[in-house]
Symmetry: C2
Subunit: 112 residues, 2 copies
DNA sequence: GCATAATACCTAACACTACTAGGCATGTCA
DNA sequence: TGACATGCCTAGTAGTGTTAGGTATTATGC
């Protein structure tokens, strides 16, 4: 079970990463995140929507309604240029933290 | 610059890791963390003491005063058994998150 | 001797964010 | 028709980090 601090710290970079692969809507993001993390992460709408809205406000994402499909309309989110830059910064920071933990725990923590 | 979310999420595991190498006092921990992270992390006492106190309260650490040295007394912190178990859990969680990011970003992010 | 800086410990008020516990609505299936 | 899945949404509450200081002792330079 991932601590809520680590969940909180990784939500934004994960959203940025998922949307870097293509536009998506919230419910689908939740399913993808659960699948990619092998079930380790089980986001709820209640935690994701406020983050999506804040990222939209920070101009990292842009949203649009899409109702071309059969069924109810979906709100698609797309990465902005600022969002792509934020993703690169997040990757850099994760790298720096990972190197710090590698020094603390030893190179066997290079998990791959 | 590490985001405050990532700083927050990594404070406890870093403290656990530093103390796993040997007992230490707060001011020294701050110096070690800055050195190990290559300057990426610059903790303040204001952020560290509340965390140390909470970890003590959660029985992850045990503290003692040590004034055998010349100079002012220092409060040394030591890892408890619960602290060691918490460290293992934190390592496991970091691994799971890292694997998730590796799937999202590609294996080139295995930084080592 | 005084001023400054480093060292060492400490914390309360405020700001911010996550969590919980729901809400609304439509479509599908038995 | 009822239960469930899907899709969007949020306010009140709880918890934690940040800021901006505090106390005290020792070391250093003038």
């Amino acid at each position: 079970m991932i601590t809520k601090e680590l969940v909180a710290a990784t939500t934004q970079p994960i959203v940025l990463s998922v949307l870097a692969h293509g536009d998506d809507y919230a419910y689908s993001i939740i399913r993808k995140v659960k699948q990619i993390s092998g079930g380790e992460l089980e986001w709820t709408e209640g935690m994701l929507y406020p983050v999506l809205h804040r990222m939209e406000k920070e101009k990292l994402l842009a949203a649009r309604w899409d109702s071309t499909d059969v069924g109810r309309p979906r709100r698609y989110y797309r990465l902005t240029k600022a969002g792509r830059r934020a993703l690169v910064q997040n990757q850099s920071q994760w790298k720096a933290m990972h190197e710090t933990f590698t020094k603390l725990w030893g190179p066997k923590t290079c998990f791959s």
